[in-house]
Structures are given as C-alpha cells and as structure tokens.
C-alpha cells in the first residue's frame, strides 16, 4: 500500500476503517478494530480467529519469499472465506498481473462478495481493468484526486468480453456497452 493513501470504494471516497497487522505482532495485540492479516496467519490461527468477534480481512501476497515463488494461491482462501469481509490483493509491481486472475476467480468461482481491494503498485491506467475483474476498493496515492479515478474508469464505454463486472449471461456479456 502507499504509505499515504486515501481509499476509494465502489467509486466513492471512503473512510479507512482497517489496519494491516504484520505477522511479527502477537495475535493478542488484536483489537476489536477491523484488521487485515496475512494468509499464513489466517491458516495457522484460524480457530482462534474464528472466536474473535470483529471484522477480519486477509491480504494475498503476490510474490512470496523467494524470487521464483509465484506467491499465494487464491484457492487456498476457500475454507476461510466465510470468516473474512475483506480480501486485499497485493500488486508488488504494476507489471505483475497475477492478481487480475485471482480477483476474477474470487468473484466468479468462489462467490466472494465482500470488499476486494487492490494494494501496492497500481497505476492510473490499471484501475479500469481491475474494476472489470471485480476489484472494488483502491488505495489511491494521497495526491490522486477522486476525479482522475472517475475519469480513468470512464475512458472506455464498452467491452468486448464478459468479465466479473457485469451480467454473466453470454448474450448480454458479449460486446456490450457498459454505461
């Protein structure tokens, strides 16, 4: 995430209610505040986390530790999706587009309906594509006005192919106008 950012959810400026908690901080430090944790922690401490009574989010890392690692597999979230109301996809570099597939799998195959957030190195020119893949929350650099976000999302009036942002019926999803 940019160190300073403002949040846009569903196209509107939104309050940031979440905090990212890194794995080095003990779990008992968890407050009742909505908290975003790693997949590693979610898997390791699922039982304890289930007992907790506050909103939980998870961030999916794209790079993993080693250079050759692909990063975390979105399918691993399946057993825990009922526990989380936010999934953040990390884009470690704008060139790394693995998260676009993860987003569509979450929306179209895993029936995830909660907040789906892009965090990391995301350019103006990518927001519209991300939105089409089902991402609905963006961490915008503090100096990026909401207007440019809206402009970016409106640059194309239609799409050739169905994706996660519209009617999934082929007859309407095929070559359709978006607005």
């Amino acid at each position: 995430m940019p160190s300073e950012y403002h949040l846009v959810i569903d196209g509107e400026t939104a309050e940031e209610n979440w905090v990212y908690l890194n794995d080095d901080t003990a779990l008992d430090a968890l407050t009742d505040a909505p908290t975003i944790i790693s997949l590693t922690r979610l898997k390791a401490q699922a039982d304890a986390l289930r007992a907790r009574n506050a909103p939980l989010g998870v961030v999916l890392e794209a790079d993993g530790d080693g250079k050759t690692s692909l990063g975390e597999d979105v399918h691993e979230l399946a057993p825990y999706l009922d526990m989380v109301s936010l999934v953040a996809l990390r884009f470690p570099a704008y060139r790394n587009g693995r998260g676009y597939s993860a987003a569509r799998i979450l929306r179209e195959q895993m029936d995830y309906e909660g907040e789906l957030r892009a965090t990391g190195d995301v350019l103006y020119d990518q927001w519209a594509m991300m939105a089409r893949c089902g991402i609905n929350a963006f961490e915008l650099a503090a100096n990026t006005p909401l207007d440019s976000f809206k402009t970016a999302l409106g640059e194309f009036s239609g799409a050739y192919q169905p994706a996660a942002d519209g009617d999934s019926d082929a007859k309407t999803g095929w070559r359709r106008n978006r607005f």
Partner: protein, 551 residues
C-alpha cells in the same frame, strides 16, 4: 472482410484518446519512462536504437486497399517514405516522433486500424494463413475465428499484464502457412466425425532462446466454446507462468516445466468451470454476424484455363518465371493467387515504399476484390486475381520493382531488423540477407536449388525465426565482433521442427561462403526432385558438417 461497426469505432477512438492523455502525461513528466513503458508498448510504441518505432496491427494479415493507402500515407507523412512488414503480418514504422503518434493513430482509426496490443505482455495480433478464403481445401476460412479471437482479446481486463507476450495463430488448412506450432497457442480449424467445425488447440510453441514445438492440448474444441478454452489456457498461464525471469516467462516454459499431462489437466479443470458458467459461449448470432463478413467475393464464372494467361507466358519468359514462382492456384476456376515478393535482390526483406504501397492498393482495388494480404514471411499477396488479369498486374508490379520471381526460393529470406535498428541485436541481419541474395541472384540457379527457406535473426530472441529456417542464421557477439551460427533442418510448416546447429560460428567474412557450401552439399547429394529439407531429413547433419568444417 470484417468492417467496424459503431461499437468498434468507438472503442478504438477511446483508446486513441486514452493514449493521447498518456503521451501528454509522459511529455509533462507526470509519468516516468518506466511507468510509461507498458502503456506505450500496449499501443505498439517501442524505443529503438535511434528513435521510437511504431508497430501497426494488421489483424490476420488482411487489408483493404483503402487501408493500404493509409499505410502509404503514414510512411510519407510520419516516416521516411517506407514501412517494414513483419513476421507477425504487421507493419512497422521506424521513425515516427512520439508527440505525433496520437495524430497518426487518429488517422489510422479512420480506416479501421490501430496499434493496440502489438507489443507488451498481452495477447498480440492474431495471425493466420495469407491464402485464407482463396485456397482450395480449407475446412473454413480461418479469419472468422481469428476475428472472434481478436475481439475477445482486445482490452482483455485479466490478460493485459501477463508474465510475457502471448501470440496466437490460426490455420484452416492442412498445409500450415501460419507456423501455428511455433506460437503460444496454435489453432487448426477442423471437422469432427459428426461433420461439426471445431478447433484443434496446440499450446506452448515458440522460438527465442529456448525453442519448442507446441504440444497438442486438445484434439477438438467445439466452435462456440473456443473462447472459454482459450480463457482457461490464459488463466492457468497468468496464475502459474514465471515472472522472475523474462527468459523463462513464456507459456512454452510453463508447459515444459509442468509437463504436458499436468498442463492439460489444469487447463481442462479451468475450462470446465468457465464452460459451466456459459459466460464465454459465443452466441450463434455472433458467429453468424462475423462469418458473413468473410463470405466469398462475387467471382465471375470462368473457365479453369485462360488463353491470354497461357499465351503471355509463352511470349514473355520473365512473366513465365513469375507465374511459376509466385502465382498459386485459387479455389475458384479462372482465378489465381499472386504473391508479391518484398525480397528484391539486394533489398531489405519486408520493406515497401509509400509509392509501392499505393501501387499495390490500386491493383488490389482494380483486380483483387479490394484485398491485400501480408504473409508471415514478409511478403504481400493479391488473393483473388482473374488469370486473364495476371499479366496486367505483373506489368504494373514490374514497373515498381515488385515482380521479383523468388517466392519460397533462397533469396526469399526472413530477416529481423537486427543491429541496424534494434537495441537487443548482437549482429546485423539485413546486410547479411542482402549479401546472400546477391550471391544467389541468378534466378535460374535459384530455381535449380528449389524451395529453400533461409531465416536470419540478429540475436537469440529469434525474431527472424532462425530456429525454423531450413537454413537458420543466428547473429552472436563474441568480444565485440559479429559472428554467425548456422543451423539446418528447421521447419515452420505442419511438420514443424527446430533446426540443429552445425558447429562453431562463422565470421562475417566467411558466413556467405558457408551458406554456399551448405547449398552445394545439398545439390550434390539430392536425389530426384528432393527439396533441401527432404535431403537434409534423409542424410542428416554429418555430410554438411564434414564439408563446412573440412580443414
């Protein structure tokens, strides 16, 4: 031919506007070169050795004369009076100014053309058979599904930042002229036992530093489900393709490292999910709508033979040679397919001047139902010419240095731009192609040698397809000196094969002699009417090696 409707026009116009904004942000400094790079690449703009280069898409290599005229106009107005046709059936301009590119794209859009996804790590321009719709024996015109794929892959939100570039080729004919097995995905249109048209899908072919022939992933994908299948392949690749090393990032490496069986299993699993959603099942109305654009032109009913055509060959030996090398049988009686070689002796393979492009546009309009094709071997085609008219077309071509009668012969070489333009190259390709073509300039000798495909790359990225040349030449750099490695036995057709390296590389001074040695070894050894590749496949590498490296 496909024509844009309002929907296509609007999206292309919006893309030009978007890119205009991106160029402005780059010029103002809001975007760094690093941030601008993927954006300009996705609009076909490369930064070359000396200048920006723009690559314009020619979907499946099909052009109307109006479009060819626009390409000529662009060469005149924004470039230095020429363009370069590429192995992906596109055209490149080597000298446009960055700040003029949005205007150039505006002009292109007026004739339904663009530079979208001609580079960058996305799905590139779909390529196909240059004889599509004209040659006998096709299951179906491959441009129908190519256009459907073009639309599906344009601005695909999920597959715009792939691990690496992604190329798809389609053939509708058993004779593969589109090199489909050397593509990330190669598609063969075929018919199943029930008589339904569908697609055989090959995955993981490619050249570059680790060449592979594609593996057959699926024997028959139903027509309406091809996009679902392609999306499954793409998704598996986007999720699992390597991003840590650009040389290992193509899908060929994923297929190789994962294994064909496991890859097939993963693709089928993903395909089942996408198919079940029916999201990407192409509606029959859409297939019908696109198919209608590729209905055959209004041919005249003609006798199979033309007296005028035969008589002209009897009286004009040069014309007879041209017919023998460059004119191919058409499926419609009384018509022929004319190949226009962009490989004049001593010329730059694939280059055409603005005046030449205008002439070809004129001929297409007058004699070939308004159509021109670009081939992956960097030549052009007038696909539907009456045999009665072939002589008139030939005369007009000859007047503009466009009647070189060398199709498929030793001087019809593929060469990448090489060190003269490209900042990746180790060695020059164009001057070498020119030297070889001059060495073998004698057409009678070329006919005697017969079909022989020389392909030259200036570096290991293999843009000149050297791996699949009957004779391949690869430029390598050794301590600042250009050397050339020779390989033999490659093939890009339905019997696709990767060539084998002969041995140590040759200096710039020696390489043309070495090619001559390879050729004379072949002519000494050939039996009957064996082509070079047949002789090589029969005798193997050894006899060539012996002659090449004899002390």
């Amino acid at each position: 031919m496909y024509r844009y409707d309002e929907f296509d026009h609007k999206l292309v116009a919006e893309r030009v506007n978007q890119f205009r904004g991106q160029v402005e942000r780059r010029v103002s400094g809001e975007l760094t070169e690093d941030q601008f790079k993927p954006l300009r690449l996705m609009n076909g703009v490369y930064l070359q050795l000396h200048a920006y280069m723009l690559r314009v898409a020619i979907p499946y290599g099909t052009l109307r004369s109006e479009q060819m005229r626009m390409l000529a106009h662009i060469a005149r107005k924004y470039d230095r009076g020429y363009g370069h046709f590429t192995t992906r059936q596109n055209i490149q301009y080597n000298w446009p100014a960055l700040d003029q590119i949005p205007d150039l794209l505006d002009e292109l859009a007026r004739v339904e053309m663009h530079a979208i996804q001609t580079s960058g790590n996305c799905i590139r321009n779909v390529t196909s058979d240059q004889y599509a719709g004209a040659v006998d024996g096709e299951v179906e015109d491959p441009r129908i599904i190519s256009e459907i794929i073009r639309q599906w892959s344009t601005f695909h939100p999920e597959f715009t930042y792939l691990p690496r570039k992604f190329k798809i080729a389609v053939t509708g004919h058993a004779q593969d002229r589109a090199a489909i097995k050397l593509h990330d995905i190669g598609i063969v249109v075929k018919q199943n036992d029930a008589g339904e048209v569908g697609y055989e899908v090959h995955v993981g072919g490619g050249q570059g530093r680790t060449p592979f022939v594609a593996k057959k992933m699926n024997d028959f994908v139903h027509k309406a489900k091809l996009l679902a299948y392609l999306e499954a392949v793409m998704r598996v690749y986007n999720m699992l393709g390597r991003r840590d090393n650009s040389y290992k990032a193509r899908i060929k490496i994923l297929v190789h490292e994962t294994g064909e069986e496991e890859m097939r299993r993963m693709v089928e699993e993903e395909f089942a999910k996408i198919d079940a959603s029916e999201m990407l099942t192409v509606p029959q109305e859409e297939i019908d709508r696109i198919s209608a654009y590729f209905a055959p032109p209004a041919y005249e009913s003609l006798p199979a033979d033309s007296d005028a055509f035969t008589a002209a060959q009897d009286t004009d030996a040069d014309f007879a040679r041209f017919v023998r090398a460059n004119v191919v049988a058409h499926k419609q009686p009384g018509y022929g397919i004319i190949n226009i070689s962009l490989k004049p002796i001593g010329g730059v393979p694939g280059d055409a001047t603005d005046a030449q492009m205008d002439v070809i546009a004129e001929l297409a309009e007058r004699y070939s139902f308004d159509e021109v094709r670009v081939t992956h071997e960097q030549n052009l085609v007038l696909p539907h010419v009456k045999l009665d008219d072939v002589k008139a077309v030939y005369d007009a071509l000859a007047a503009h240095d466009l009647a070189t009668a060398n199709l498929g012969l030793i001087s019809d070489q593929i060469a990448c731009p090489g060190l003269d333009y490209c900042n990746l190259a180790n060695a020059r390709s164009i001057p070498l192609a020119q030297e070889i073509s001059e060495r073998f300039a004698d057409l009678d000798r070329q006919y005697d040698i017969g079909e022989l495909k020389i392909k030259i790359s200036g570096c290991i990225n293999a843009c000149g397809h050297h791996h699949v040349g009957h004779i391949g030449i690869l430029g390598v750099d050794k301590k600042g000196t250009e050397f050339y490695q020779i390989s033999l036995g490659g093939s890009a057709d339905e019997n696709a094969a990767i060539g084998a390296i002969t041995g140590r590389a040759f200096t710039e001074e020696d390489v043309v002699d070495a090619i001559e040695t390879v050729v004379t070894t072949y002519t000494d050894l050939r039996q009957g009417d064996e082509r070079f590749i047949d002789t090589y496949n029969r005798v193997g590498m050894e006899p060539f090696k012996e002659r090449l490296y004899a002390e």
